[in-house]
């Protein structure tokens, strides 16, 4: 009896409590969202009418033109002067922020926004050079479906912690001159790493990769490294996702050095000179010096053909054994002079219209980071494509994606490479 009453009271109380909790959660949630909203209004009101110095690699005319387009858009939307500071290497901007920090310049930094990923992000986050917890609060960040999409929360396996907003996605794809690789015996298109080696041995001097630490050259080495460890036992394979240490470096990288020792004598200029960048590699394909090359931004290939920079006979394809893939981001240094304005720009770069414009093959062709299901009908319509160019990568070519190894391997590979191949004999 008493017990019964007790249970009644308890259930009544607990009902009230649950109801209260629900009310609390709802109100918190709405409070949180209004907080986010008011935060954003605050950012908007502070960020308008200023200049943003966007430090971004400037070696590609198409990308530069896209950034110019974005500059016009934020000029009309927010009256922001977006200044593209063209870098030949992103590390220049990293060293600039680092220099400012060591000179105690903590709030008047010259870099407002920086295009970054991988090793440079790892360096900046390690030295606490980036503004934290802003990217995940951008209104347009929700279009990336962040809770189900690790690609926008991890950069080469390192959590981004809201320090960088995703901008685009890239996979390592290859392209070749179909007049030079004509499919005759000893000259058939290589579609795996091993075939590439044997093809290069039979057609010496027609393949090479940009000199590390170039981003694209490093990507090729990472692709080779990951592929060479496909048959390795699981403990060794797992090392690729761990930081490089003095203990594991030799064991993990030795297969790569053995492979390169075989590959290098067959390369362009006998592997004694390497091109400086992926852009230069593309030019050498245009010159017919190289017959096969690779890129992290597949749409640049048809675009280059349209601009006459590559011959009409160029065709794109993805390696059958896998394509290295990653996301690239924009970040704000901790000492940026115009952090709010930079957030406005980053948010604009994430907007469906900016992402759709970027994905157009004629503009830049960089793959969008937005998830289609989060978009409205009208927004999805922005992404509709027209008939692909004959030199473009055919749709759904990428059968298998390979994830990037831990960023510390970049440095390990670079140092090993420099010691072995940096000085021609």
């Amino acid at each position: 009896m008493l017990a019964n009453k007790f249970w009644q009271t308890l259930s009544r109380y607990s009902l009230c409590f649950v109801a209260f909790c629900i009310c609390l959660v709802i109100s918190f949630k709405s409070l949180a969202s209004t907080q986010l909203q008011s935060r954003w209004q605050h950012v908007e009101s502070l960020g308008k009418d200023q200049s943003v110095y966007f430090y971004a690699w400037g070696g590609d005319a198409q990308i530069n033109a896209y950034i110019q387009w974005a500059a016009q858009q934020v000029k009309t939307n927010y009256n922001i002067n977006l200044v593209h500071v063209k870098l030949s290497d992103t590390s220049e901007a990293v060293s600039r922020v680092l220099a400012e920090k060591s000179a105690n310049n903590n709030d008047k930094g010259s870099v407002d926004l920086i295009w970054i990923n991988g090793a440079n992000f790892a360096t900046m986050s390690e030295h606490s050079l980036l503004l934290k917890q802003w990217a995940n609060k951008l209104p347009n960040f929700n279009y990336t479906d962040p809770s189900n999409n690790p690609a926008v929360n991890f950069d080469f396996g390192i959590p981004t912690n809201g320090m960088e907003a995703p901008w685009g996605q890239a996979s390592l794809t290859f392209y070749y001159d179909s007049l030079a690789i004509d499919g005759t015996a000893n000259n058939t298109l290589p579609t795996t790493l091993n075939q590439l080696l044997s093809w290069s041995a039979q057609n010496p001097g027609r393949f090479s990769y940009p000199k590390p630490p170039d981003f694209l050259g490093m990507s090729f080495l990472k692709y080779a490294l990951v592929m060479l460890h496909q048959q390795s036992d699981d403990t060794l394979k797992a090392q690729l996702n761990q930081p490089a240490t003095t203990q594991n470096t030799a064991q993990v990288l030795n297969p790569l050095w053995n492979f390169l020792n075989k590959l290098h004598p067959t390369l362009w200029r006998d592997g004694s000179h390497f091109m400086q960048s992926g852009a230069q590699m593309r030019r050498l394909v245009g010159d017919t010096e190289l017959s096969i090359a690779f890129t992290f931004s597949a749409p640049e290939v048809p675009a280059a053909v349209k601009r006459y920079d590559l011959p009409k006979s160029i065709r794109s394809y993805a390696m059958q054994d896998g394509s290295l893939s990653n996301t690239h981001f924009v970040a704000i240094p901790y000492n940026a002079s115009h952090a709010q304005s930079a957030q406005l720009v980053a948010n604009f770069l994430l907007s469906p219209e900016a992402q759709a414009h970027k994905q157009k093959p004629s503009v830049w062709g960089d793959k969008s980071v937005l998830i289609q299901s989060t978009l409205s009908q009208e927004q999805q319509a922005l992404f509709k494509t027209v008939e692909p160019h004959p030199s473009a990568l055919p749709l759904n070519s990428i059968k298998r994606t390979l994830s990037e190894p831990h960023p510390s391997w970049v440095n390990a590979i670079m140092q090993g490479w420099q010691a072995r191949f940096g000085v021609s004999q």
């Binding site: 110019q68 200044v83 590390s91 010259s110 200029r269 017959s291 920079d309």
Partner: protein, 584 residues
């Protein structure tokens, strides 16, 4: 300096006007200002490189002096190779340019061909190094013009062959580029010396006498002209040597990268993420300084040795050293050099308008203005920066130069030998050695004023050329005009503005065009002082040179050539319409 004020005080009728007073003061101070402007940045820059090289870099939390930086430098793989490359390319290219200059002068002295060659080569002088390197690269690449002209009918190449140029590990491409670029400079410098009225006349007469005595024309040149000509050519040659051994643009565009030349490596170290590399870079900058200094000493030593060894030959009476053959060799060499230059320019122009142009076709499949259109769209702000920096720098340089030269005339004594030597300092000290220190200093003083920093740094390189170009005309000015004006009661200021400047209109414009050309061509100073924020046509051209598109690169190189050329054309045309009466 006191003479001018004495003059004013001694002639009470002149009644020093207030503005004249300020003017005289300004004029009197200007040589010191010029000195400070040239010495302080160079010395400050050198010190700011010296300290970190020996381990003193408070910013990096290194305050213990030591040889750490040099140890790091010595451990760099391939350092010897880098040093050899820098020394070799610098010395060989200067030597080649010098020898070819002498051969051309000797073979065509007193011949109308000398003027024709001069007219053909002088536009080359205004082509910035980066543009020249791009053009040469187009020519000698495996898929370049030369290889296209012989393919496939002769060579059988259907695809571009495996060549070694550019970027060959011996630096031959760099030598080729530097030689072709420095040859016109040295030649025009020599012709400038010979164009001096009295000296030139004397030398030509001596040459004639030698011919009458039966000397072969080339022998006559080497025995009679060269001994008087060389001392006046020495400084330009040393400047060329110092530049060539430490330049960045040519090796960056044409040189190897396993390893690069020392100067290029230093630049990479300075720009590296790892700030500790700056210590190594500073040590490298010192090494570069020693190398360039060593080369200059070597050159001067070689000069002495040659003088000692061959002075007997001057008076041995031998008239003929196979002059006919040498004449032929020189003609072939000249034709070769000129056609090389012309071919690379033609290639450059064709690339800038080429549609598809697959190897081995000698001509593009179609012509298009697309590349110009898209480049001009993106060129606006670099173009504006280039012009703004060039104009501000040149204007400033011309004002200081004019004031200095005026002070020389007012005080009636030439600038001290020290001052005249100091003017050459920025040309003789390798810029890579002091620029980094200078940039570091500039960052300490003002971090934000990138535009001002760039202008200031450009001034260091523009000022010497503007001064050298204006000095001779200013000193040659007939003093009687100024005397007449002064006796009519004109203040020094008025004499300067209304009598001297109008007469100097043409030389001032030439100096301005030269100053603009120098400013337009600066790569390293713009890149460093601007912190990469200030893009000019030249920095864009170098960035794009190893980039994806030969066509875009060609457009930028053409713009680089067009800008200074427009300047010189204006300098040539304007005096025909303005101040004509003053210049008779």
């Amino acid at each position: 300096m006191s003479v001018a004020s004495n003059k004013l005080a001694a002639s009470p009728t002149l009644k020093p006007h207030k503005s004249a007073d300020i003017f005289s003061k300004l004029v009197k101070l200007s040589p010191r200002f010029l000195l400070a402007l040239l010495i302080l940045p160079v010395i400050g820059g050198l010190i700011s490189v010296l300290l970190p090289a020996f381990g003193y870099a408070p910013v990096l939390e290194h305050t213990t002096l030591g040889l750490h930086g040099f140890t790091m430098l010595m451990q760099t793989p391939g350092l010897t190779h880098m040093v050899m490359l820098s020394v070799g390319t610098g010395l060989i290219s200067t030597l080649l340019a010098f020898i070819i200059t002498l051969m051309i002068l000797a073979a065509f002295f007193n011949s109308p061909w000398l003027n024709r060659i001069q007219r053909l080569l002088s536009p080359i002088l205004v082509i910035p190094h980066a543009a020249a390197a791009i053009a040469v690269g187009f020519l000698i690449a495996p898929s370049g013009m030369i290889s296209r002209l012989v393919s496939p009918w002769f060579s059988g190449w259907e695809l571009a062959p495996n060549g070694m140029f550019p970027h060959d590990s011996f630096g031959i491409s760099i030598i080729l580029g530097l030689t072709l670029k420095e040859l016109p400079f040295l030649l025009l410098m020599a012709l400038g010396v010979l164009a001096q009225p009295e000296l030139g006349k004397k030398l030509r007469q001596q040459h004639k006498v030698a011919l009458n005595l039966g000397y072969c024309p080339m022998t006559a040149f080497f025995k009679v002209i060269l001994p008087s000509l060389y001392p006046l050519l020495r400084l330009p040659i040393l400047a060329v040597l110092a530049y060539a051994s430490a330049s960045v643009e040519m090796p960056l565009i044409l040189g190897p990268n396993t390893p690069p030349t020392l100067a290029v490596a230093i630049m990479h170290w300075f720009n590296d993420v790892d700030l500790n590399l700056r210590i190594k870079a500073s040590a490298g900058a010192l090494l570069q300084l020693v190398l360039s200094g060593g080369l200059l000493a070597l050159w001067l030593g070689g000069e002495k040795t040659i003088k000692a060894l061959f002075s007997d030959l001057l008076t041995n009476g031998e008239r003929e050293y196979g002059g006919v053959y040498w004449q032929k060799i020189t003609t072939v060499l000249t034709v070769f050099a000129i056609s090389f230059i012309l071919l690379s320019l033609i290639g450059l122009i064709m690339w800038s308008v080429a549609g598809f142009w697959r190897f081995p076709a000698a001509l593009p499949e179609q012509l298009t203005l697309l590349h110009f259109k898209s480049a001009l769209m993106q060129m606006q702000s670099p173009l504006f920066n280039t012009l703004a920096i060039g104009l501000v720098t040149t204007l400033f340089a011309i004002i200081i130069t004019l004031l200095c030269l005026e002070s020389e005339q007012l005080s009636a004594k030439p600038l001290s030998r020290f001052t005249s030597l100091i003017i050459y300092v920025p040309l003789l000290v390798p810029s890579i050695a002091f620029l980094f220190g200078l940039v570091w200093l500039q960052q300490l003083v003002n971090n934000q004023a990138a535009f001002f920093n760039v202008v200031f740094t450009h001034l260091l390189f523009v000022l010497p050329y503007v001064f050298l170009s204006l000095a001779s005309s200013y000193r040659r000015l007939d003093p009687r005009f100024a005397h007449v004006a002064a006796s009519l009661g004109a203040t020094p200021c008025k004499v300067f503005l209304h009598v001297k400047l109008p007469q100097l209109f043409a030389p001032i414009l030439i100096a301005a065009a030269l100053g603009l050309a120098i400013s337009f061509g600066q790569y390293l100073p713009t890149l460093l002082a601007g912190g990469g924020r200030i893009a000019t046509i030249t920095t864009e051209a170098v960035t794009l040179a190893n980039g994806a598109s030969r066509r875009t690169s060609a457009v930028y190189a053409i713009m680089q050539m067009a800008l200074p050329l427009i300047g010189f054309i204006l300098a040539w045309v304007l005096p025909k319409y303005f101040f004509k009466s003053a210049h008779r």
